[in-house]
């Protein structure tokens, strides 16, 4: 009831909805969508429909085809077959331009923003010169919009100076400004703290009340349960089921998503004889290329036989920390001791030879650590080709090792001589981690090793890390998913703006605590608040 009143008000203000009383109308429908990438079937004969005033979760593992399906709706991809129906009429969407005209707005997981433009320029770009609005009116309209939804944004700030959540706000403004009726959000919470997620959901609820059809792409069950009205589950490119959120539960959803029942807990084996302080970082300070301080006086240790997790909002200094330890980034101040020896100033090659291994999975997955156009053999050889004697390069040992890795890790490939860009994400990451582990390191630094992987592959990776831990290797794990950090790691170091906010035992903290620390509250502050609260 409240919903309906709100939407009537919204109608008068925003004029984006037809009628407040038609909450249950189907706004858009996809029929029989099929999309192939080469030989890979990304979407297979999918039917999907969303009603007005509904938040519809699109749930599925990484690689199940959620993003592909929505990219088809927003005009990025052309489907190989199938039809799209909006407001009862069949439409053809050949480009994002068509989609925008039909009132479809998508917020992509990797923001589509121009870095050197201001927020305002990003919002207005691409708006064909239908009305020659002057700057004042435009600014006024944008300000009204941000006030109404309680968005806090500086319209003249450049994107490259913004934090991740600010960038997302710009993306939201973009779709609001275009008065989109169909909103698609692709994994919007991946980069946000729990507190920021709450705020985002507030906005979504308000838009739902306005009668918008909202699609939330996610693989997180708690979010589905919290905010959606209905949920459609995709598995391996096929639609498995559409259910009402009220009538389901996380366990059932997981089974639909994975295809079989899974034990969602991650092992945390106990290692008795730890080696003390394999890595000892003291007072580390690092500046980036533009002279901004990105690591500010960090001190911590990692023992052999433990996994130290690092939690933080993206861009809090994770990359620079990894690179500094691996000798890839200059250190302004402080020491990094590996087994008692200061390795600051050594070159990457010397550090590798000491037994330090670093694997960093960047957002595009292939950026660092692997060469996409080379075959598996040439990728396996990358780290130890230098140990061969003489000028010539022998690929025989590497070929042997590659074949062994294919067998041991169940890597799906047509052969070790095929370029690894042809492998799926999970297999690529297995190659990378497998190679690192094969070099029997004593310190393993791994950043986002499960990025973009499905649940089964993720668990293979967790197992691999635990194996190393049991062997006495010191593991520094930089993660995104706070739930995983809480279950997998022996200790968690939370960082914000290049400082350590707290070094905590996962058993003592909640996910909200981590979120608060990630946004700049120290652990002692949280403990103090908890004390007064009780």
């Amino acid at each position: 009831m409240q919903c309906r009143i709100l939407s009537c008000i919204a109608f008068s203000i925003l004029n984006i909805c037809d009628k407040g009383d038609s909450v249950n109308n189907v706004l858009f429908e996809l029929r029989g969508i099929t999309k192939l990438f080469g030989n890979v079937v990304a979407n297979k004969n999918i039917d999907f429909s969303v009603r007005e005033g509904e938040i519809h979760a699109l749930l599925g593992e990484n690689g199940s085809g959620k993003t592909t399906l929505m990219n088809i709706l927003s005009g990025i991809y052309t489907p190989d077959s199938g039809t799209i129906i909006i407001n009862g009429e069949e439409v053809t969407i050949k480009s994002p331009e068509d989609a925008i005209k039909l009132g479809i707005g998508m917020i992509h997981q990797h923001f589509k923003l121009v870095d050197v433009f201001s927020a305002k320029e990003n919002i207005i770009m691409g708006q064909a010169g239908s009305s020659r609005r002057n700057q004042k009116e435009l600014t006024k309209e944008l300000e009204e919009l941000s006030n109404r939804f309680g968005l806090n944004i500086n319209l003249d700030k450049k994107i490259y100076q913004m934090s991740v959540s600010e960038k997302q706000t710009v993306e939201i403004m973009k779709v609001l400004f275009r008065k989109s009726k169909i909103l698609i959000l692709d994994e919007p919470t991946a980069v946000l703290t729990p507190q920021e997620i709450d705020k985002l959901f507030e906005i979504l609820r308000e838009l739902r009340a306005d009668g918008c059809a909202i699609v939330l792409i996610t693989h997180k069950l708690n979010e589905v349960m919290e905010i959606s009205d209905r949920v459609t589950i995709l598995r391996k490119g096929e639609s498995v089921a559409t259910v009402e959120t009220k009538k389901t539960n996380p366990k059932e959803l997981t089974e639909l998503m994975v295809g079989h029942s899974v034990d969602l807990s991650i092992d945390r084996p106990v290692v008795k004889d730890k080696t003390k302080d394999v890595l000892k970082v003291e007072n580390l300070t690092i500046y980036d290329e533009e002279g901004v301080k990105v690591i500010d006086g960090m001190s911590f240790t990692v023992d052999g036989g433990e996994i130290l997790g690092v939690a933080g909002v993206a861009g809090s200094g994770q990359k620079e920390l990894c690179e500094a330890i691996a000798g890839l980034h200059p250190v302004a101040d402080g020491t990094i001791e590996f087994k008692g020896r200061n390795i600051v100033g050594l070159n990457p090659n010397e550090i590798i030879n000491l037994g330090v291994s670093m694997s960093f999975i960047p957002e595009d997955r292939l950026g660092m650590g692997l060469v996409a156009n080379m075959d598996m053999v040439d990728n396996v050889i990358l780290k130890d080709y230098r140990r061969q004697k003489g000028l010539l390069l022998s690929r025989k040992p590497a070929r042997k090792m590659a074949l062994k890795m294919v067998e041991d890790l169940d890597i799906v490939t047509q052969g070790v001589q095929y370029p690894i860009r042809l492998l799926s994400g999970g297999n690529v990451q297995k190659v990378l981690l497998g190679r690192e582990i094969n070099s029997s390191p004593q310190l393993l630094i791994t950043a986002y090793p499960v990025r973009g992987l499905d649940i089964n592959s993720s668990y293979v990776i967790y197992d691999m890390l635990n194996e190393q831990k049991k062997k006495g290797v010191a593991v520094l794990y930089i993660g995104e998913d706070l739930n995983v950090l809480l279950e997998l790691c022996d200790r968690i170091m939370v960082i914000c703006g290049g400082r350590i906010m707290g070094m905590v035992d996962p058993k003592d903290v909640t996910i909200e605590d981590l979120g608060l620390m990630m946004t700049g509250h120290t652990y002692s502050q949280i403990l103090a608040e908890r004390g007064t609260g009780q």
Partner: protein, 312 residues
């Protein structure tokens, strides 16, 4: 008076470079590094030259030069935007092709005997139409008002290009395409269309530059007319930090260095060593700009990378 005539010479040398830089800026703002500037200048030089000889019309010559330059750009655009081929190699191909076709067709002008072809006097007179009497003002008269009309036209075009790229709505969309085509695409901008149009506009500017060299500056057909001015333009884009207004003084700097080589032939230093000055200067500028780069004045981020929407 001597200073005034030095300025006069320097400005005339720098105009084709200025137009070339502006043409290259259009390309790069659309996200394409085009190494075919030199080739398009050759094409423009031929078309302008041929039309001037055939029709005695300055305007037709300029239009023909722009069109032929744009035609060269169109081939390049098709190769890089539609067929998504490597921009470096496509640009080089354009230069080789443009040079070849201009020389090939240009040599058919002169016929079998190989006598040199000149621009008709009638055309030269039309081009050198002067604002009445102003050039006779002492000292700066010649330096400010003594030029042929194409120079003024060029400067007006360059200023228009500045406002178009930096102040207009279409310009905003263009810059979005060059910086982040995926973002531009998602915002509903037709990336391919923007690339095609602006690469071709860039080609027209280069064609005009070639016509200036052929019809106004040299007035005799020669196989080596452009002599690397297109390449210098590509290099000076960096010095102009992708801004047509700054291109004006970048090109003037080139003009004055060339002047040294032209004017000081009696100096103890060999004229052949002086000839390398403009190129040496360009190299030094390249180094300086690469040592200190500001975030704001950089090459559009997507330059050199072709956009494919369905990239996964």
């Amino acid at each position: 008076m001597i200073i005034a005539s030095y300025i006069y010479i320097a400005v005339r040398v720098s105009i084709p470079v200025l137009l070339g830089i502006t043409g290259a800026i259009f390309n790069e703002k659309a996200g394409n590094t085009n190494l075919g500037i030199e080739g398009m200048m050759y094409m423009g030089a031929f078309a302008g030259f041929y039309t001037a000889v055939a029709t005695n019309s300055v305007i037709l010559a300029l239009i023909a030069a722009c069109l032929f330059g744009a035609f060269g750009a169109l081939i390049y655009a098709f190769a890089t935007v539609t067929l998504r081929t490597n921009q470096v190699v496509a640009g080089l191909s354009l230069t080789i092709f443009g040079q070849g076709i201009a020389r090939f067709l240009g040599n058919t002008l002169s016929g079998a005997k190989g006598e040199s072809v000149r621009i008709p006097d009638a055309v030269t007179q039309k081009v050198n139409w002067k604002i009445l009497g102003l050039k006779d003002i002492p000292f700066l008269g010649r330096a400010l008002f003594g030029y042929d009309m194409i120079i003024y036209l060029s400067i007006v075009l360059v200023v228009i290009a500045y406002f178009y790229i930096n102040k207009s709505k279409t310009g905003l969309n263009l810059r979005a395409v060059g910086e982040n085509p995926a973002a531009a695409d998602a915002a509903g901008i037709n990336v391919s269309l923007y690339k095609y149009v602006h690469i071709c506009i860039g080609g027209a500017f280069c064609g005009l530059a070639g016509a200036y060299i052929g019809v106004v500056y040299l007035t005799t057909w020669g196989n080596n007319m452009i002599a690397g001015k297109g390449w210098i333009a590509v290099a000076l884009v960096i010095f102009a930090s992708w801004n047509p207004l700054k291109a004006i003084y970048s090109s003037l700097l080139f003009g004055f260095t060339s002047l040294i080589a032209l004017r000081f032939q009696d100096s103890p230093i060999s004229p052949y060593l002086l000839e390398m000055l403009p190129y040496l200067l360009t190299v030094i500028i390249l180094i300086i700009t690469s040592v200190k780069m500001k975030k704001e004045n950089q090459q559009p981020a997507s330059c050199g990378v072709n956009y494919f929407r369905e990239e996964r």
